[in-house]
Symmetry: C2
DNA sequence: TTATATTTGTGTTTTAGAACATAGTTCTAT
DNA sequence: ATAGAACTATGTTCTAAAACACAAATATAA
């Protein structure tokens, strides 16, 4: 088992923003209430309509936040990378979750009861501002996303997703392969298109020497062109 | 000119949530820094890429928040009714506005410098939570909107917009006419479709006796059916 | 390992909705 | 009050993308 010191080290280095803003007493409370959870690949983290319980901080792995829409068609709303926070919006809105979260790959998550967070930020302006800023940034992204997903064409949407994945999870050692292992279906759900169209458009990009693919691994060959396709829609 | 007492009365009754949470000193500061602005029909309130300056509270009138997308095509992101707050997200995100706001009809707006609001909420947990909750609710709506606008068909999207307008601005005295005077183009931009399609689909709804129209006035005849069309997409 | 399920790839068909064209109508500003 | 602009209406054409179908390739589990 982990000793107490190990837990302290892990929290203070892994929750840098929040940890820094807390008093000693608060840090102690956090230490006693935070739980580290592990999720296997494709495991569900929370479900639509469930009641939110904790603020999650992704320490390791990759997470998708998604929604099932008309006829159960799934739409990926956002993706989470280490070290980002998620799962807190619904609690603050006093609603059940309107999205679900699941692990793209094996994940380590730190879960802190929302009641504790709320108590902290009532007395801690910096922490409150931290959450206000996160929510504000996410709302801006969501507004932008509405326009991108509804107005851009298939090629533009897919190009945008590829760039987005690169910026979110980075590249592998070769400096070209996007560091995520995604099924075509997930790529489609991220880009608001059918799986067929994701496959077809990906093939087109390969033929045009914009990317190359090896199974699920995608290598970006001509990023400038990809960005242009994304920009003009 | 308005006397001081008049301003106080107006603020305390018009900004109920915020006013209630403030101390006497804060109320005094608010009183001295809040400005009442008037906008004519179709006047711009703020523009995309501008720097955010104030928290706006809509006292009277109707406002649209919109974004111009691919090829300048405009998308209405949300609409504001009295008494709602808007224009603060960008400041908190430390970004320029990503949306523009304009008046559907003559408006009265109270503008409070964001610096003052930030100062207040650093020391006022309730006020911080108030903003966190607003942002959280709006983010949930934005997430839902992504799915609705991308997955529902034209009929579903238009039906949804009509219900949304009814719930936002209510009905006129006849208990059926939606209390807003909107161009077909705005209706289209709200529902993510071309103006032609908004006009055509509106006509179809009339033929199916779901609504009736008299110029820009829309009367809901069969709300249950409208809701069903919205639900199934 | 082998069997079964899932994912990927491609061709074909169908369709929703955009684009375009044009005319009638209603605002709005002088 | 009237001219011009903007909005509304409707028909027609065109196209992007969904739907469908099926084969091949991979992944997963017994």
């Amino acid at each position: 088992m982990l000793g107490k010191n190990k837990v302290v080290t892990e929290l203070s280095s892994s929750l840098p923003e929040i940890w820094r803003m807390l008093t000693d007493v608060e840090r102690d409370q956090l230490r006693h209430n935070a739980r580290i959870l592990h999720f296997k690949k494709n495991e569900l983290i929370y479900l639509e309509d469930e009641n939110p319980r904790g603020l999650m901080c992704l320490f390791k792995g990759k997470v998708k936040i998604y929604k099932s829409g008309v006829g159960g068609r799934s739409q990926i709303i956002r993706i989470i990378r280490p070290v980002q926070y998620f799962g807190y919006r619904a609690y603050f809105a006093r609603e059940p979750y309107v999205t679900a979260a699941s692990a793209f790959e094996a994940c380590t998550v730190c879960m802190i009861p929302m009641e504790l967070i709320e108590q902290f930020l009532r007395n801690n302006g910096d922490l409150a501002l931290f959450f206000i800023q996160m929510l504000s940034v996410d709302l801006g992204i969501a507004d932008q996303r509405v326009v991108n997903l509804t107005q851009k064409h298939v090629r533009g949407r897919l190009a945008e997703s590829l760039i987005f994945l690169k910026e979110s999870y980075g590249l592998e050692e070769d400096g070209a392969t996007i560091n995520i292992y995604l099924a075509r279906e997930d790529l489609a759900n991220l880009s608001n298109m059918t799986t067929s169209n994701a496959i077809r458009t990906l093939s087109n990009f390969v033929n045009e020497h914009i990317i190359s693919i090896d199974g699920r691994k995608i290598k970006i060959i001509d990023e400038e062109r990809l960005r242009k396709i994304s920009r003009i829609g």
